[in-house]
Symmetry: C2
Subunit: 360 residues, 2 copies
């Protein structure tokens, strides 16, 4: 028996990749019935096997449709389901909003039953095998109504977000795209360009890189095919954001080559970066706190890191963040235990007394 | 009693900041006598109190001098000690090499007793209070002889590096600067420019940022004064590196604005980034391995993360890397437990069976 939720009883998920299957699993957990569709029969089979729902046969029973297909196809597929199911609300989970919205508006379909959505819960893996009902836990979920969207449709999508454990955030499509361009799409391309700038170096040289470069380029591991489509679907916002990052760097390069005046330019760029950085959410979204890194040498044996953290907890110190760095060529790592600055010295002394090699 | 090491018996450290004091502590640990000098009497007093050595009174006893002062002053101070102590070897620990080397060469001092050095062990804290004898543990330490450097001087600096627990890497000054420009100085400026590009946003908007932007901009927290000096002292290499990152981003912006052909440009930039990323050192400097992130919800209570890692170890799974992400506005975090891909599914099942909320 399916339960009646704020948006209805039966959900159809179109596209059973990582996000679509995770939505299905989350909604089943709150008692709804989930129907599944995918043009790829094997992927559909995996999602069914994962317990995400059953293949759809009768569209007439569906109350809400979640389209979870690649960005370029999203608007077309949404319009098709608006036409096919005359009473259903149709949403999607696309990383971009304006392009699918325009596609829906120009399709002639009933826009009043359409509302865009975007759970901000990306990861580097993909496919139904990595799906999880907890993927959206406490994450923001953008809800982006079009001008013609009816209030019922927007409220149904917000309810779906809450049923998945997420926090709905109402945004216009253009605002969403401008914002995500700067917070997600541009950082992806900047990380790739930075990593690409060392692609011609010999590996014996890159062995001298530290954690700074590794952190800054982590996003460069992402899937080029997916990101090419996301960037193409948000071209204007991404282009503007890229210019805002790249032009100051080129201006600084010119100042450094010219010699005179480069100090003021360098300092200004670094200080502006500190101001931007201060705007990012801290722990629990609260006020910024000053943390100190206590660096501890950790031999590479199962359980050693756990023992370290147990002893940190035994000292009554709460871990604010943690990072593990591996020494190049050695069976050792450095654990950076981030704690409140006021507790750093005491923790370092206590860990030394417990026999750890502490480098802070 | 001091012991005779490969470079002599008595070390003079000039400049008792984080790096200078850490060198002093490391060298005392292997039995050498350490003398200290600093123009800032308070900083010198802190270093003495930290057990780093005693203030120098008789320069005649010194075998090796380590100059650990800001980049711009380094060459001048090195030349002064080459003149003051006729038999001592003089090195430094500067993030840039060519500028101090040129300053020494043009000073008229005896270059045969000079050899530049750079322990690659940066951190975001500074001052003698954060110094540690283990700071250089298994880190690379660039040894950069000038054309006129005698073989004894280079070997003494390499011995000092080994005595500090580091791995000496012989490099020409120009090679060092070109390399560190790309691996360290450019990433710093790119992270700052990216963080700076969101400085005008409202904090309610930046709350939608995920871990990707946080990782990519972490370096933007660094000290602007120090980095302005480092960048200025490596201006040509940094300018070239900045162009190699920024020009492809501007070219892509233009392609995105023009519309046609932007897909191929986007994909090319992303794929080049993957190639550069593959050159960065993996764990233990060994062959690249495929890792999987198992994401686990961790309530924010002391000891919870330690318990999680103890249970990971109890399952016989070795932790390859770890990252902790805090959910915005909630007393919860997500621990990303990175394990070999072959072990991910089993670990996720085992942790679920132990009662954890696992999102992979």
């Amino acid at each position: 028996m399916s339960e009646t939720l704020a948006w209805g009883e039966r959900l159809l998920v179109v596209g059973t990749g990582l996000i679509g299957t995770s939505v299905a699993l989350a909604v089943r957990d709150v008692g709804a019935e989930v129907l599944l569709a995918d043009t790829d029969a094997e992927r559909l089979g995996l999602a069914v096997a994962a317990g995400a729902g059953r293949p759809v046969d009768d569209l007439g029973e569906v109350d809400l449709v979640v389209v979870a297909v690649p960005p370029r196809a999203t608007g077309t597929v949404v319009a098709r389901y608006l036409d096919a199911i005359p009473h259903a609300t149709v949403t999607h989970v696309c990383s971009v909003q304006s392009l699918p919205q325009l596609d829906v508006e120009s399709s002639g379909a009933d826009v009043s039953r359409f509302c865009g959505g975007h759970p901000i819960a990306g990861r580097e893996t993909s496919g139904p095998a990595h799906a999880s009902p907890d993927l959206f836990h406490e994450r923001p979920w953008a809800v982006c109504p079009a001008a013609g969207t009816g209030p019922d449709a927007a409220e149904r999508v917000a309810s779906l977000a809450r049923d998945c454990g997420a926090r709905p955030v109402l945004l216009e499509a253009a605002t969403h795209d401008a914002l995500l361009g700067r917070l997600s799409h541009v950082p992806q391309l900047v990380a790739s360009a930075l990593a690409g700038s060392i692609a011609a170096l010999d590996q014996s040289r890159t062995a001298l890189a530290g954690t700074g470069l590794r952190d800054t380029t982590r996003l460069a591991d992402s899937d080029p095919a997916l990101w090419t489509e996301i960037v193409g679907a948000n071209a204007d916002a991404v282009a503007a954001g890229l210019r805002d990052v790249a032009q100051p760097l080129l201006d600084l390069a010119a100042a450094l080559e010219a010699g005179a005046g480069s100090e003021a330019s360098t300092r200004e760029l670094l200080e502006r970066g500190q101001r931007g950085r201060a705007l990012l959410p801290g722990k629990h979204g609260g006020a910024p706190v000053t943390l100190q890194a206590v660096q501890v040498v950790v031999p590479d044996e199962p359980g050693t890191l756990a023992r370290l953290l147990a002893e940190v907890a035994a000292e009554g110190v709460n871990l604010e963040d943690l990072r593990v760095e591996h020494a190049s060529g050695q069976p050792l790592g450095i654990a950076e235990v981030m704690v409140l600055a006021a507790e750093g010295e005491r923790l370092a002394s206590a860990l030394r007394a417990r026999g750890w090699t502490v480098t802070a």
